[in-house]
Amino acid sequence: MKLSDLTSHAGEWLRGSGPMSEIVISSRIRLARNVSGYPFLTRCSRHQRQTLEHRVRDTILGAQLAPQVLYVDLDQAPQTDRDLLVERHLISKQHASAEGARGVAVGEAETLSIMVNEEDHLRIQVLRSGLQLEEAWDQINAADDKLESKLDFAFSPRFGYLTACPTNVGTGIRVSVMLHLPALKLTSEIEKVFRAAKDMRLAVRGLYGEGTEATGDFYQISNQTTLGKSEEEIISDFKHLVIPKIIDYEHHARKMLMTERTVALDDKVHRALGLLRSARLLTSEEVLSALSHLRMGINLGRVKDIDIRAVNEMFLQTQPAHLQKLQGKRLEGDVRRAARADFIRSRLNVG
C-alpha cells in the first residue's frame, strides 16, 4: 500500500455510509498512551525521541494489527503528503507541522491509525463512518491490547494511563462524533447545541479539530473528562444521551425548513448547485459551504439526480492536498481554484 493509493477514493470516515449517516458523518475514538521508562516528548532528548520512534514503529509493524499497515516517516515525508494525511483525518495538524522523529501507521482501510511521537508517545485512533462508537471501541480496544502485550504503558492505579497533559489522564480516551448540522445553522439554532454540549462538559470543534472553524456546517463533539469515568460509560453517554439529542434537534430543524420555509430551503440548495455547476474559480471554503447545502438537499429529497457518495467524496477531493495529488502537480492561487471548479463540474457531469 502506498500513500498515493489513498487519494482516488474517500477515506472511511467520509464514505457517507453507516448508521445515521445523513447526520452523523463519522465516529472516532483515540487513546493516548506513553511507553514507561521514557520521558514524555517535551523532555525527550533527540536521541531518546529517535530510539522511541524506532521501537514503537517496529512494535506496531510486528503486532499484526491489520493485514496491511503503512508506516509513514513524517520527518522525511514531503509537505503535500503530510497535508493529505491531515485532510483524511489520519494525523493532526500539529503532528504534520511538528519537527523531529515522528510518524504514523495506517491500516485496515484507514479505520486505524497510530500517531507516533505526537503529544504522547502513541495516539491510537479508530475512525468509522456513521454512528459506530461501539464497533470503534471494540476495534481500538483490541489494537490497544495487542500493543500493550509488547509495550509497557505508563500507568498508575490511581491516575490510570499517564499522559503528557493532565487533561487526558485516566482512560486517555477521546470520543468524537462528527455531525453535519446544516439545518440548525440555517435556523440559527446551532447555539442550542453548543449550550447543551457545554452543560454536558463536551467540546465542540470544527472539521479539522482543535482550533479550527466549523466549515461546511460540520461539527465535532467530543468528551473532555477522561478521569473517573470508564471507557464504556463515556461511549454509552454519547450513544444514548448526547448524539440522539442533537440528531433530534437537527431533524426538527430540517422538518421546519421543509414545511415552513420550503422556498428558502430550495433556494439555498439550488443556489449551491448552481454555483458548483457554473463557477470557474472556487475556493475550498466556498466549496465546503455549497456542498454542505447540496448534501442537505439530497438528504431531504430536494435534489434527486446526484449521488450522495459523489458529494461525500468531493468534500475530500477538493481539499488542497488532494486536489494537487489527483492532478499530479503543485497548484497555486487561481490555477488551483480553476482546477477545483473544473474537477467539480466534471464530477457533476457538466461541461
Binding site: F40, R43, Y161, L227
Partner: protein, 164 residues
C-alpha cells in the same frame, strides 16, 4: 432573577448537592464573592494581563520548587507549558495536581476503567467499578426527579455493591 441576599440582579448561579439533596443559589457578584468565597471577575484589568504576560516571558515566576529527578521539570515549568515531563511527575506533584484534575474532570480524582494486563488488569475495564459509578449516577438522577422510592432502592444496591 434577583440575588437571594440582596436586590441586585443575580449573575452567579450555583448548584450544590449536599447529602443527595440539590441546593440552588442565585447570587449577585458581590454576594457570591463574600458568601461563597468565589472570586468573580467579569473583566481582567489590563495591567494584570500585562503583568502576567511579562512574568510568563521573563521567567520571573520561576519558583525554586522541587525538580523531578527523572526529567528535571519543576511545578512552575509545568504551569507554563501545561505538559508534564514524565510518568513520575504524577506522583511527585500529586498534591498540587489533585485540584487541577478535579477541575478538569468533573471532580474525579481516581481512575475508573481499563487496566493493562501487565498491571493486574484483565484487559477489560473493571466491571464492578463501572456498575458502581452507573448506580451512583442513577441515584443522583432519581433524587433530582424526586423519585425517592427508586432512590432508596438504588442506595441499597450501592451499599451492597460496596460490600457494606
Amino acid at each position: 432573577m434577583k440575588c437571594d441576599n440582596c436586590n441586585k440582579a443575580a449573575t452567579v448561579h450555583l448548584t450544590e448537592i449536599k447529602n443527595g439533596k440539590k441546593l440552588e443559589k442565585h447570587l449577585c457578584e458581590q454576594c457570591a464573592a463574600q458568601n461563597e468565597g468565589l472570586p468573580v471577575k467579569s473583566h481582567t484589568p489590563i495591567n494584570e494581563l500585562l503583568t502576567n504576560f511579562v512574568m510568563a516571558h521573563s521567567g520571573i515566576q520561576k519558583e525554586t520548587g522541587t525538580a523531578c529527578e527523572n526529567c528535571g521539570i519543576t511545578w512552575a515549568e509545568f504551569r507554563q507549558s501545561g505538559l508534564l515531563g514524565c510518568e513520575n511527575d504524577y506522583a511527585l506533584f500529586e498534591r498540587d495536581l489533585t485540584p487541577l484534575l478535579q477541575r478538569a474532570h468533573e471532580g474525579a480524582t481516581h481512575h475508573i476503567g481499563k487496566v493493562p494486563a501487565r498491571r493486574g488488569g484483565s484487559g477489560v475495564p473493571a466491571k464492578r467499578a463501572v456498575d458502581l459509578s452507573k448506580l451512583r449516577k442513577e441515584l443522583a438522577r432519581a433524587v433530582e426527579a424526586e423519585d425517592y422510592e427508586r432512590a432508596a432502592k438504588l442506595r441499597d444496591q450501592i451499599r451492597q455493591a460496596e460490600g457494606g
